[in-house]
Amino acid sequence: MVAQSLQGIAASPGIAIGPIFHYRPRRVMAEHYPIDDVDGEIVRLEQALAEARRELDALSIQMRDGIGPREAAIFEAHRMFLDDPELLGRVWARLQTDRVNAEYAWQEGAQHYAAALEAIGDNHLAARAADVQDVAQRVLRILSNKTSQVAGPTEAAVIVADDLAPSDIVALDRAKAIAFCTAGGGPTSHAVILSKALGIPAIVGLGDAVRHGPEGVRAIVDGANGTLLIDPDEATIAEYRQRAEAFRQMRDSAFGVADQQAVTTDGVHVEVMANIGSVEEAAAALASGAEGVGLLRTEFLYLDRDNPPDEDEQTAIYRAVFEMMGQRPVVVRTLDVGGDKPVSYLNMLVELNPFLGLRGVRLTLARPDLFRTQLCALLRSGEGHNLRIVFPMVATVEDVIAARRYVDEARASLDARGLRYARQCQVGIMVEVPSAAVIADTLAEVVDFFSIGTNDLAQYTLAADRTNAAVSPMADAFHPAVLRLIGMVIEAAHARGRRVGLCGELAGEPLAAPVLLGLGLDEFSMGLRSIPLVKQAIRRFSTEQAGSIARRALSLRTASEVRAYLTSVASQVGDRPNESR
């Protein structure tokens, strides 16, 4: 029994149980009054800025030593705002000519630049505007002589807030803030990056309801699923306690052997690969124990710019990834955008149903200029490496034939230009549209391999939009309908000697490992953090055991029956894998 259950966006995995604490960071608003002693006011602001610099330097060092350079950079950037000559020039001018108090002059200057960055209408710059506000608050707080922004909890608690700034997260006592839950906020904010790096479970986008959760009442935060349970009964708490403990133990043991292969108890080696979306992540993938890249998303090359990247630029970036991976396989997905993630220079039309619209391979087939450039760049950069090209959102045989024609055309173009390229490159498709799964036997004749994308396959199979909170829980890849389609695809592919990988979130769920193993999946590909956990889960089963678990799971009626069954299976085999990522 749970008194109330709230669903938000999973931001940082892990389970935490504790009383709710409403954190209301007091935003300091500067008063505005005239001053006589201008010099005294200047000294006051100088001292406050010096103190803010000391705080930020200490935070950067603390972050770099304890967490990582990426997190430290957040506060280094804050530090640069404090030294900005234009901002300071504006503030000093205000102080001296308008003779206003230090707080007001500082706030006005910071607001001016925050507003300017926000007005540009770019998400990255809007996030920097939030950082400017955070720094502005730090200085205002020092000027107002507040020792800390607001009192944190006195005992270990689940922190609930409207929204959190990076400074809020680090200001809260690490031992007492056991989880973060916010009403607003997105999964890509700096605050989320920090909570992930700190290993603190977090849920964002819980909506206004979370603010009415009574203070002091016990709650369970399931960060992997984005679920907040308010006032659960003892049995539920006991169940989650056990899960949290099992997760801790498993994680500790799994990370120790992450670089070893995943081999089943009967000696079958299963390939575990990484999903990545940048050059930086390629290096991190190797460090996490990945045996290759099962999915390289290429959208990062195309977004946040005014023109598509040309062939040379793309070739250089792909080559950086290939050089890092050596002879390990790298599966590269061609540009996968659509109406839901528009790219300014593509002049895409507004669509009523972008998920059913011109996206994935449909878009690149409609824009041959983009497609040719990307394919030429991929073939060139893959020379001497293990390149595999995969087309997203394939629904029909015609899609494959048309797309392959462009690959042939790209080869001819490179030959004509006398350029070297990957001649042995395999060409495959993402199986994420139900029609492709149903005709997998036919498609297997025209491709070299399949890669199943379970996020889209679940959303299309269950007709539930992943981005619509009202129905998104239905788009559950554990649903027997999705699992049966996966089974069909693998069977059809193996009958024709084709290999099958899976790169959706399901591959990164340790709970799903025995089912996928039992269905005969050749390759698991997932986010870097899941690799040690999934490898560990695979090592616990024999292929025979996994086969019977898969048969049983496919015969169940609902997604929750499948989850319950797999949870019981995992606990019988020993320490229980959590479905956390």
């Binding site: 950079a73 000559p85 990255h124 970036i317």
Partner: protein, 93 residues
């Protein structure tokens, strides 16, 4: 005298985040006054030693900028900034 150069920023994210910070740190090493204007967006010359002004120039990948420096070390300043941009901020191109 003024040293001026026009250059295309090839970095995929443009002058955001880490590249912007590196750019400002490099500019700050020089005594000359240095300005940056985003020619592709037609922005006015802004202080290249100000991180907020550089961010507000909203320079994205493949956009053209104009750098001008005036002072004792103006040539060295322009050379150092162009080297940073040409070297793609130390990342593989």
């Amino acid at each position: 005298m003024t040293a001026t150069r026009e250059i295309v920023v090839r970095h995929t994210v443009g002058l955001h985040a880490r590249p912007a910070a590196q750019f400002v740190k490099t500019a700050t090493r020089f005594a000359s006054s240095i300005t940056i204007s985003n020619l592709s967006k037609g922005t006015l010359p802004a202080n290249a030693k100000s991180i907020l002004s550089v961010l507000a120039a909203a320079v994205q990948g493949n956009e053209q900028i104009r750098l001008s420096a005036e002072g004792a070390d103006e040539d060295a300043a322009i050379a150092a900034l162009c080297e940073l941009i040409d070297g793609n901020f130390g990342e593989p191109e």
